[in-house]
């Protein structure tokens, strides 16, 4: 069976990294002025050579986004179901070696959370867990979807990677999208950051979008955790992955995220720092490569940063998020995955968007579909 691994294995991390950093002003100018941009153009736009062109990139990115997505912004919120986890990840608060008490929401707790989230106005929800397949496996998810589906127009999941057959079981229960971030495409460093648990299997994770595509999922979210490795090289591989998936599973929609490592209980500080300027560069470069891809920004980023980048290519925002199971109502003081930065309520974010000339969109799907 064909998979992204066949393509990925043909690339060498160090060569790609060198080729990005070797891009010149002339490469950037060509990338800016061409109509259909290639991955070579994308490398130029990602490179340090493009930093002086950031204003021009932002203008183009804004224009392309506005044409495709209009003056609207999708709003969604995470619902953490569990912080149980069998993996050791060096950067995550849920890591197995972080000795804290664990919590998995039961049915009545899930419904309490649902009620609290619905009050904020949300109709799109993202279910999040750690990886504890024994207790929080496909059966748990199936029951959770059945409980949640009547209350939301659109349900996404960010949980452990699963088999194709498991996805096929969950999709008819109302699962619309799955977010699965590779964290880093640097195979050796991936091992260092994920020394234990099922997550330490790099290839299984890498091939997850293929399994999702074959299962017929509506939307797949990709990304890397920025801070683990050189973000430019990691973002190139994300784009390579995206283009492969778009060609192969052409009926599926795609979204990208670019989470920067946040402080968390027991976590390592980032190895690589990405400043605000560089994150703007990445957002614009993604948009200039792909006009149709959704770009999503979470509450990891600060209020000031979010207010300013909503106009530069972003199409979806979360707001009022809690990153701990039960955080909205059922168990407000349980362990959170990471500290959020923008703590404003959903209504405040909606107001900010309106002020900037954007219509906040709460519902853009129907549970009946």
């Amino acid at each position: 069976m064909s998979s992204f691994k066949n393509i990925f294995d043909q690339y060498n991390w160090n060569e790609i990294k060198e080729s990005i950093y070797a891009k010149t002003t002339a490469d950037v100018e060509q990338a800016l002025h061409t109509h259909k941009r290639t991955l070579e153009d994308f490398k130029a736009l990602l490179s340090p050579a493009a930093l002086p062109y950031l204003e021009q990139m932002a203008q183009l990115s804004r224009q392309l986004t506005q044409q495709r997505f209009g003056n609207t912004m999708q709003l969604y919120i995470p619902l953490y179901l569990s912080n149980e986890c069998q993996n050791i990840c060096t950067y995550c608060g849920f890591s197995l070696d972080n000795k804290i008490s664990r919590k998995t929401l039961d049915h009545s707790e899930i419904l309490q959370e649902v009620a609290a989230i619905k009050k904020m106005g949300y109709d799109h929800v993202l279910l999040v867990t750690g990886e504890a397949s024994q207790t929080v496996g496909v059966d748990y998810f199936k029951q959770a979807l059945q409980l949640i589906r009547p209350h939301f127009a659109n349900i996404s999941m960010e949980v452990q990677p699963m088999d194709e057959a498991e996805y096929k079981e969950l999709i008819p229960q109302g699962l619309h999208a799955v977010l699965v971030y590779q964290e880093t495409y640097h195979r050796e460093d991936y091992k260092l950051h994920h020394p234990k648990g099922r997550k330490s299997n790099f290839d299984y994770r890498l091939e997850t979008p293929d399994r999702l595509g074959r299962a017929g999922i509506h939307k797949i979210g990709l990304g890397v955790l920025i801070g683990l490795e050189d973000w430019r090289t990691d973002s190139f591989f994300t784009a390579l992955h995206l283009q492969y998936l778009e060609r192969t599973y052409w009926q599926t929609k795609y979204s990208l995220s670019f989470p920067r490592l946040r402080p968390c209980s027991g976590g390592l500080p980032p190895k690589v720092e990405m400043n605000d300027r560089e994150l703007v560069q990445l957002i614009c470069a993604y948009r200039l490569l792909d006009q149709e891809v959704e770009l999503s920004l979470s509450t990891r980023e600060s209020a000031r940063f979010r207010d300013n980048v909503v106009k530069l290519g972003i199409t979806a925002l979360s707001a009022g998020s809690k990153t701990n199971p039960g955080g909205y109502a059922a168990a407000v003081s349980s362990l959170e995955q990471f500290e959020i930065s923008d703590e404003r309520a959903a209504s405040a974010i909606a107001g900010m968007l309106r002020e900037q000339g954007y219509e906040p969109v709460w519902k853009d799907w129907d549970a009946g579909f």
């Binding site: 506005q66 044409q67 495709r68 997505f69 209009g70 003056n71 609207t72 109709d123 127009a153 509506h218 939307k219 778009e246 052409w250 009926q251 599926t252 929609k253 149709e292 309106r354 000339g357 954007y358 219509e359 969109v361 519902k363 853009d364 799907w365 129907d366 009946g368 579909f369």
Partner: protein, 255 residues
């Protein structure tokens, strides 16, 4: 100007409009009113059908607007038929803009699923306006199963590229016994005028109005362009020539 009749309903405006991408619902309402449009399409997925006070629908509550629910988001005939039934119940209309685009990137319509769904929906009593590629044979097949109109695209939806499919649109217009509404890609009032001049019965415009810096004025510009285009069509355009033609250079000797 001749009125346009679709499924027994008379429209004085030949500008149909969409409701997506506006920066606020207030602005959407103002622009649609300024456009003079009498047929306004709404994505079922954007509307909260359980909620009678749904924001979007509140702003479309005008005697001049007939709502045209659309099935945007569905990927198969089966899903489209399900969505159509939801729409009929919730929006109390049997009119339907049938759009099935399994390709979420360019939102290009699936001809096979569209024909299948159209046939079924017509039998179920829907007034079906299918969004299709500018494919003359498909348009005839849809006419044969009883759709109320056909809505071929001018260019990829939202692209504002204009009438890229013009040669095929001409064939569709020439052959059709039902109204032809050019649906996607119309980027400027001149594109709309051109479509009407060619004999299209109407155009549907969304992005070009919604994403304009001034949607209300742009809506008025489209309104006038559509009127001008239709008037020119009814008046009969004088043929265009590349070179000036002298009165009778070849047969002058006969005089």
């Amino acid at each position: 100007m001749q009125p346009l009749i679709i499924a027994g309903h008379t429209f004085t405006s030949r500008l149909f409009t969409g409701t997506g991408k506006f920066s606020s619902l207030q602005l959407m309402e103002a622009a649609l009113l300024a456009s003079g449009s009498e047929l306004v399409t709404v994505a079922l997925k954007r509307v909260d059908l359980q909620n009678e006070a749904d924001d979007m629908l509140q702003h479309l509550h005008h005697p001049s607007f007939r709502l045209l629910p659309n099935t945007s988001g569905v990927r198969t005939a089966k899903e489209a038929i399900y969505a159509a039934q939801l729409a009929r119940e919730a929006m109390e209309t049997n009119w339907l803009k049938l759009e099935i685009h399994p390709d979420p990137r360019y939102l290009l319509p699936d001809p096979v699923e569209t024909l299948k769904a159209a046939e079924e929906l017509v039998k179920m009593g829907f007034v079906v306006l299918p969004y299709v590629h500018a494919d003359p044979v498909l348009c005839k097949r849809l006419e044969a199963v009883g759709t109320a109109a056909v809505m071929p695209l001018g260019a990829p939806i939202g692209s504002n590229k204009g009438l890229k499919t013009i040669d095929f649109l001409e064939i569709i217009i020439e052959q059709s016994n039902i109204p032809v509404v050019i649906d996607a890609g119309i980027g400027s009032p001149s594109d709309a005028a051109k479509a009407l001049e060619m004999g299209a019965d109407a155009v549907l415009v969304n992005t070009a109005i919604a994403v304009s810096k001034n949607p209300v004025i742009m809506a008025q510009a489209f309104k006038q362009a559509v009127i001008a285009g239709r008037m020119a069509y009814e008046a009969g355009l004088a043929p265009a020539h590349k070179e000036a033609i002298a009165s009778s250079p070849l047969i002058g000797f006969l005089d």
